[in-house]
């Protein structure tokens, strides 16, 4: 079977909390090897969409295919296999506080591979060195800075060499310099390892720095407002909200 060019396919996805519909029948694809960024104003459903993509929330309707497998319906062993295809970095890092960075990275390997303890430790150190934290392998999450925690979370997400990495607001709560460092890291991992990135963000500088393609969500339309490269959205899109977002202007959005 030939691998399709799309690693993620979202088909007519409806996201809702009870009766409150947030996104209605949206469809989009993420191509293999690209950096795909989901943007939008606060409360437009970015994080909700992310939770659906990684299988934490079941959608009200629609399908999400990750590398051909449907995460909305998969269960048991099928779901376990699907989950190993991606890694997630949560907004706060969500490292396990009672484990060192190294142990955080080793946890999934311990469960899902037959590697010896020695081999696991070496792999964990290598993953940590990819994000520049090899010297902090024995530190606990509380002993390092917020930016470092996020990088460690990326290392942990890469433990099982997933094809896709989901990052939830990588630049939230970071200063511009640290944030730019994280952008460089994303670009390097994308180029050198061919990992596909799906990033939720609203940081303009970061979007320009990393994104190959962007989709913009909108709460009033409960769907995708626009899609394309960041430059296209900035220069060629006529929608007032897209224009306002990319030119950092306040905008009266119809409620």
């Amino acid at each position: 079977m030939m691998r399709s060019t799309n690693i993620i396919e979202v088909r007519r996805l409806t996201a809702a909390y009870g009766d409150f519909v947030i996104l209605e029948k949206i469809s989009f694809d993420v191509r293999r090897g690209e950096v795909f960024v989901i943007i939008g104003g606060s409360g437009c459903g970015k994080s909700t969409l992310m939770k659906h993509l990684i299988g934490l929330l079941p959608p009200a309707a629609g399908d999400i295919l990750i590398d051909g497998g449907n995460i909305t319906t998969a269960s048991g062993a099928e779901r376990a296999d699907l989950i190993k295809k991606f890694g997630v970095m949560y907004q706060s890092g969500a490292l396990f506080g009672s484990l060192t960075l190294e142990e955080n990275v080793m946890l999934a390997m311990e469960e899902f591979t037959g590697l010896s303890a020695e081999a696991r430790q070496l792999v964990a150190r290598m993953k940590l060195s990819l994000v520049g934290l090899e010297r902090f392998a024995a530190h606990y999450p509380a002993e390092i800075s917020g930016g470092m925690q996020k990088r460690a979370a990326i290392a942990r997400a890469m433990a099982l060499d997933p094809a896709v990495l989901f990052l939830d607001e990588p630049s939230a709560g970071l200063d511009p310099v640290t944030s730019a460092g994280l952008d460089d890291l994303i670009r390097n991992l994308n180029r050198n390892l061919g990992v596909t990135f799906v990033i939720v963000s609203h940081e303009l500088a970061s979007i320009y720095a990393v994104a190959d393609r962007v989709i913009m969500l909108d709460s009033s339309r409960k769907g995708i407002l626009a899609g394309g490269s960041p430059a296209d959205l900035r220069d060629k899109n006529n929608d007032p909200f897209v224009h306002a977002f990319f030119h950092r202007q306040a905008c009266e959005v119809p409620a």
Binding site: I54, G55, L56, A80, I83, K84, F86, G87, V88, Y90, Q91, S92, A94, L95, F96, G97, L107, A108, E111, F112, R156
Partner: protein
């Protein structure tokens, strides 16, 4: 501010600030609808003053004249504010709505408890079939925290309870000349009821709360989500080791608490002049196998309940730091409630079985 009850006109002047408004808010009740307000001398106005003006013009339909343009501009953004607070979308705070919400919350909680029991049972059976799935390291660490570290407090509570019961019983029983039977009373009460219950309550206070706080904090920090998306079942990773530790540790703690409680009772009796041998013979004669077994069976169940409900409350934690505090409280309260409830059920069962 000057309100003339005769002409029913209001004259505003000077600074209309929070201090002034708090003195004159009651004027709003006295002015008639559609009265005239002269604001020519009004110099400045703060947020409270604006609210006063807004209430005059919107709820009292007063005609305000002479308002300075800069103050009128401050009032402008509130033109479309609905005059009636009921028009503002918000929570229905009526009694019915509150009862409804509370009932829904209770049903929701029961549903979650049933789902939790089912999920836990299936995971526990899976772990039973394949013990390699159990995180034994976590089991031992939790057993140490919940068990070994609780020795002092559980022991002290039980020892003192034994002494207190002996003291209290000694006087009335002495009146009938049967004070040796204090041993029966203390031993049976401890082995059948007090020992298991007090140990379980100590466990609920020390460990049930700790489980809820640990797991609740992990929930708030998205660590539970992280486990799930790493393909690691929180039930197997967090709940099974803790419940297993509770199951293993509670009976041992209960035996230890029972022993110390009886020792406390013995000490009191020996201070009254009874020889140890007489007390020991009385104890051996009084306590049967069923007395020990009923207490032990209960302590196993209490251990599972307290640890389980602690974990459940942790997993139910909502968002934010207050949510963690709430689930900790709920863990202790539910734990103690369940202990008493299940103890009552056991009392009936043992009565029917004549144990």
């Amino acid at each position: 501010m000057n309100f003339d009850p005769e002409s029913r006109d209001l004259v505003l002047g000077g600074r209309l600030d929070a201090a002034e408004v708090s003195r004159s808010w009651k004027v709003l009740g006295q002015v008639p609808g559609g009265c005239k307000v002269d604001a020519l001398k009004l110099e400045s106005c703060d947020g409270a003053g604006l609210a006063f003006l807004w209430a005059l013009s919107r709820t009292k339909k007063a005609v305000i004249t002479g308002l300075r343009p800069e103050i009128a501009a401050l009032l402008k953004p509130f033109d479309e504010l609905p005059p009636d607070p009921a028009d503002v979308p918000g929570r229905d705070q009526s009694l019915f709505a509150q009862i409804g919400r509370a009932s829904c919350a209770i049903f929701q909680d029961v549903r979650e408890q049933i789902a939790f029991i089912g999920e836990f049972t299936s995971t526990a059976l899976l772990c039973f079939a394949n013990p390699r799935l159990v995180r034994w390291g976590d089991v031992w660490i939790t057993a140490q925290k919940a068990g070994v570290d609780a020795l002092v407090v559980a022991g002290m509570v039980s020892f003192l309870t034994g002494m207190i019961m002996a003291f209290q019983a000694a006087v009335p029983l002495k009146q009938f000349g049967v004070d040796l039977f204090v041993v029966n009373l203390v031993a049976l009460a401890l082995l059948r009821e007090m020992g298991p219950i007090m140990t379980a309550v100590v466990l609920a206070g020390r460990s049930g709360s700790a489980f809820a706080a640990e797991i609740g904090t992990m929930k708030v920090n998205e660590e539970i989500n992280a486990l799930e998306t790493m393909g690691l079942d929180p039930m197997r990773f967090l709940v099974v080791p803790r419940v297993m530790a509770g199951f293993l540790v509670t009976p041992v703690l209960t035996v230890y608490a029972n022993a110390l409680g009886v020792t406390g009772g013995f000490l009191v009796m020996m201070s009254q002049g009874f020889p140890f041998a007489a007390l020991w013979n009385q104890l051996v004669g009084a306590v049967g196998v069923s007395d020990v077994m009923t207490g032990m069976i209960k302590s196993f169940v209490f251990g599972i309940l307290v640890a389980g409900v602690g974990c459940l409350r942790g997993l139910q934690t909502g968002n934010g730091a207050t949510a963690v505090g709430e689930s900790t409280t709920r863990a202790v309260v539910s734990g103690i409630f369940l202990i008493v409830l299940v103890d009552a059920v056991f009392a009936v069962i043992f009565y029917v079985l004549k144990w």
